[in-house]
């Protein structure tokens, strides 16, 4: 059998195989005994009933490419590696502990390196994923512009003219919730309880620091209420999850190094995250940078400090400070994949909700099935994402909930759109939004249970938000 190495691509018997860095690890692949136990948990298999859209099928294809039985650039392979939501449900249920996430990410990296993409796609990826997310200031400016657009009346005019539809941006536009008034800028705000017991570093994240900045503030207040002094360290950037999911590993590694640098000043403090997708990515920096001698150890240590906000609050010494203000509402909880599957956190958010007086939690069917958001999946794989969104909205609305609670910005946007499309009136909130409400929100600060200090450095400041 002829083995030729050409342009970094190993060819066996005329089929192109993996080449260069970031190949799907054959040992990880071998752990799959193709038992099929993961099939029913996989959203794409649930919708299609077809084996290639199942975790087992995708793993088999990855193995086949490695074994020289399938061409790396076979369209079917490309299709499946990207139809996968990377929701990691398969990983959470696999009895043999197959580490699926890193495998599909490596497969995508292989495709990205070796596959020619049409120019418009290349540009969109460079701008959308690499440029916009490379610098938090760009994101804040973009979101400020969006807020201006939403509130100035321009949105109504533009929509009436059908412009978003013509630009193919209608989905993105419809998904956007009302944007928080002020972005949260690292270094500008700090929350200190009267008697701090510990300090934590809040990870700002692209969406939570802008569109959902008020939710991030709510998280900080809730943490402060429970004895933590909360800082938002300067210099932090996007977590890199979108880049990892898109197979752009070098971009992701760049961001990871920047974040590790930014958070090292805060010592061993926990890095608290309010976006499940970012939390999962941060917890995997150890894996992402394992081949970088300067950063491997530091990445491991950084990842070990990362906590989802519900995880952090679920573990506060002496238990959670009991919230006292009733929030009389029926809610249901939608598990973000990257919380439930990638981080295996399912009990804490429910415990936090149960601690809120007056709140009634009704479980929905299939609460851990992906809602179809999955990073930017809902923008690039519209049909499947919509189908998952409709299924989710149906299950959520069937509980009679007035509020759907989740813990990830992507899910929040997807849920919002899906519920609207289903004609439902339920709103979508983060766990900490409700908890903050039960603690008395900003008013509690004025009552002295913690103080918010706004006079911080301006080193990371943005152009003033447009309003």
């Amino acid at each position: 059998m002829a083995v030729a190495v050409e342009a970094d691509l190993v060819q066996i018997g005329g089929l192109r195989g993996y080449g260069g860095d970031d190949q799907p690890d054959p040992d990880l692949l071998r752990a799959c005994v193709h038992c099929g136990m993961c099939l029913p948990s996989c959203p794409t298999y649930r919708l299609t009933g077809q084996e290639m859209s199942s975790p087992r099928g995708r793993l088999w294809m990855m193995k086949a490419v490695g074994d020289g039985r399938l061409d790396l650039l076979d369209p079917a392979f490309d299709e499946q590696m990207y139809q996968c939501l990377n929701c990691r449900a398969c990983e959470a249920v696999c009895p043999s502990g197959v580490h699926y996430g890193p495998l599909v990410e490596a497969a995508r990296q292989q495709l990205e390196t070796h596959r020619p993409r049409p120019l418009p796609q290349r540009v969109a990826r460079r701008v959308g994923i690499a440029w916009l997310f490379r610098d938090a200031r760009r994101m804040r400016a973009a979101v400020a512009a969006l807020r201006f657009y939403q509130r100035s009346g321009l949105a109504a005019v533009v929509r009436r003219a059908g412009i978003p539809r013509r630009l193919g941006l209608a989905d993105l536009e419809a998904m956007m919730p009302p944007v928080s008034r002020r972005a949260l800028v690292p270094g500008e705000e700090r929350w200190v309880p009267a008697h701090p017991e510990r300090s934590v570093a809040l990870f700002n994240t692209c969406m939570m620091g802008t569109v959902f900045a008020d939710t991030n503030r709510a998280a900080a207040r809730v943490l402060a209420h429970n004895g933590s002094a909360v800082d938002v360290p300067v210099g932090q950037q996007c977590c890199g999850a979108l880049a990892v999911h898109a197979g752009m590993m070098d971009e992701a590694r760049d961001l990871a190094r920047t974040n590790i640098d930014a958070f090292e000043a805060s010592g061993d403090d926990h890095v608290v995250v309010t976006a499940a997708g970012c939390g999962a990515a941060l917890k995997e920096y150890g894996h992402l940078l394992k081949d970088d001698p300067a950063y491997a150890g530091r990445a491991e240590r950084f990842s070990a400090r990362v906590r989802d906000v519900s995880e952090e609050l679920g573990a506060v010494g002496g238990g959670l400070v009991p919230p006292t203000r009733p929030v009389r509402r029926r809610v249901t909880y939608q598990e973000p994949c990257h919380l439930a599957h990638a981080q295996r956190i399912t009990i804490q958010p429910r415990m936090l909700l149960a601690a809120i007086p007056g709140l009634e939690l009704v479980e929905m069917r299939e609460s851990s099935l992906c809602c179809g958001s999955a990073g930017i999946y809902n923008l690039i794989r519209r049909a499947m994402a919509d189908e998952l969104g409709d299924r989710k909205a149906g299950n959520a609305l069937a509980t009679g909930a007035e509020t759907v609670v989740t813990a990830n910005p992507g899910c929040a946007m997807q849920l919002r759109t899906s519920i609207r499309r289903a004609g439902g009136g339920a709103d979508v909130r983060h766990v900490v939004d409700l908890l903050d409400e039960a603690y008395g929100g900003e008013a509690a600060g004025r009552a002295g249970s913690w103080a918010c200090d706004r006079a911080r450095t301006k080193s990371d400041a943005v152009p003033a938000a447009a309003d």
Binding site: V33, H34, C35, M37, G97
Partner: protein
């Protein structure tokens, strides 16, 4: 019929999204849940995903015209290669026929399509106080159609019986493309019990398109005991004394030290890591009765040398204990990249001697063997762990397995070849160990009555070469009649 015409004809029946034929798509239909090496992979010519019995029937008729074999597929969790298209042809995947059509609480029956997942049927009916009793360890993924075809069993079949005891009627597409109903709601149907003939037929007699199954009332109380022993001998002893005392547990399962090592780190079910073996014993029934029997069984275990006995009544705790057991097989990937397992059944009284022999074989052939099995009905699953990249490993495993099989079915032990996983391609060449030529001929007669052209799931069950040799005469006769020899 050339490939293009075939695909076009199939698409006309199920639509373009219901047919797969690109090589890369067919690649993922070349396996099922069975073990690498023990079953060869094979690619079909096309895969069809129908949504109704009529579509299935139309596909079968097209296959007949094209003279292609037809292989039914559920979730592909089978362990004997049943869903692998050994001679190519068309795979009919029932995964899109997954509706629960009707639940009749008064009659305690459910009418389901074949692609319904076993556990989801129980989850659907449990709020009303019923469940579907057959509970293969794969129940989270496997389908009712696959259960019927393999006559699947599970831990709770000790008390409740296997799949065949829970199937009342079947809608079936026959190999000539006709749709028939076998059995029905009535407790007794006159004439041949053809429903029973279909159960366990491994997709070789017909394709199930609807199943009318029995639902079982959920018991008032359930108790799970976890008993730890220093060694397997002690655990086997306890099994014998529990059964001898006349107790009928809902389930009685054994796991040895190696299995515990694979499962405990993954599920933290609470199996003691230092035990030589553990028993999981589930008791169910009326609350008082369960409590009393629980005490009796705990005492019997202690007398047999149990080092610890723990009781779980809360559902979450019971589920966790079971999760470890049910996931054991699939968790073996944590210990070794490959495993090979047996499914032999031995009389319960022969358990201790058989398990001792398993230990000897492991040493003689230098292969780690994990034991996790349905102790209550003597259904063994010795799992041989290996790495097929290691030279000679596969040969050693096959030799060891041959040794064990012969031991289990020897007159001294009097065991059977397969408890629940079916014969498929995997054990077809061993079937002559348990059946005489006349036994096989009787079975071939049934096959021939249903499928004279031998198109449904060829190369299964019967030893290699058998159907073409022995049944050639019958086949010729059938071909002459062209449209089959059905008399009903």
């Amino acid at each position: 019929m050339d490939q293009t015409t075939l695909v076009a004809r199939l698409e006309a029946v199920v639509g373009p999204t219901g047919v797969f034929h690109r090589p890369a798509d067919l690649l993922v239909y070349e396996y099922d849940g069975s073990v690498d090496g023990a079953v060869d992979t094979a690619r079909p010519a096309a895969v069809v995903l129908p949504t109704s019995a009529e579509q299935v029937a139309a596909v079968v008729r097209i296959a007949n015209e094209a003279e292609l074999p037809v292989v039914a597929r559920g979730a592909g969790t089978g362990l004997s290669g049943g869903a692998v298209a050994q001679r190519g042809g068309i795979i009919v995947s029932l995964s899109r026929m997954d509706r629960i059509l009707d639940v009749d609480r008064d009659d305690r029956t459910a009418l389901v399509e074949p692609g319904v997942i076993n556990l989801e049927l129980s989850e659907h009916t449990l709020p009303g106080g019923h469940f579907f009793a057959p509970d293969p360890s794969s129940q989270k993924a496997c389908t009712i159609g696959g259960n019927v075809a393999e006559n699947a069993g599970g831990p709770h079949c000790l008390k409740y019986g296997v799949t065949t005891n829970h199937v009342l009627g079947l809608e079936v597409v026959l190999p000539d493309g006709r749709i028939v109903w076998l059995g029905g709601r009535a407790a007794h149907t006159p004439g041949y019990d053809l429903t029973a003939a279909l159960v366990g037929s491994e997709g070789m007699l017909g394709i199930v398109t609807k199943a009318l199954v029995r639902l079982t009332p959920a018991p008032e109380a359930t108790l799970v005991l976890l008993a730890a022993f220093g060694d397997i001998d002690g655990a086997s002893q306890a099994v014998s004394s529990v059964i001898a005392a006349g107790v009928l547990p809902a389930a009685l399962e054994m796991m040895d030290a190696l299995t515990i090592q694979a499962v405990e780190p993954a599920y933290h079910a609470g199996y003691p890591l230092d035990a030589g073996a553990v028993l999981l014993i589930e008791l169910d029934g009326a609350t008082d009765e369960v409590r009393e029997t629980g005490e009796e069984v705990a005492a019997l275990c202690a007398a047999a040398g149990a080092t610890a006995v723990r009781a779980a009544t809360a559902k979450a705790e019971r589920d966790l204990l079971w999760k470890g057991r049910k996931m054991a097989l699939a968790a073996m990937g944590r210990l070794a990249p490959n495993y090979y397992l047996h499914d032999t059944v031995v009389p319960r009284s022969k358990l201790p001697i058989t398990l001792r022999r398993v230990g000897e074989v492991a040493r003689e052939f230098d292969i780690p063997i994990a034991n996790v099995f349905h102790a209550g009905d003597g259904n063994l699953h010795p799992l041989m762990l290996f790495d097929r990249r290691e030279r000679g490993a596969v040969e050693r495993v096959l030799a060891a397995s041959n040794e064990l099989l012969h031991f289990c079915v020897s007159p001294e032990i009097g065991g059977a070849l397969s408890g629940e996983h079916g014969i498929g391609t995997e054990k077809r060449d061993h079937i002559t160990l348990v059946y005489t030529a006349d036994d096989l001929a009787a079975m071939a007669g049934v096959k021939n009555a249903f499928d004279p052209r031998l198109t449904f799931n060829p190369e299964k069950l019967f030893p290699k070469g058998y159907m073409c040799g022995e049944v050639r005469a019958l086949r010729a006769q059938a071909l002459a009649q062209k449209h089959g020899i059905y008399a009903f």
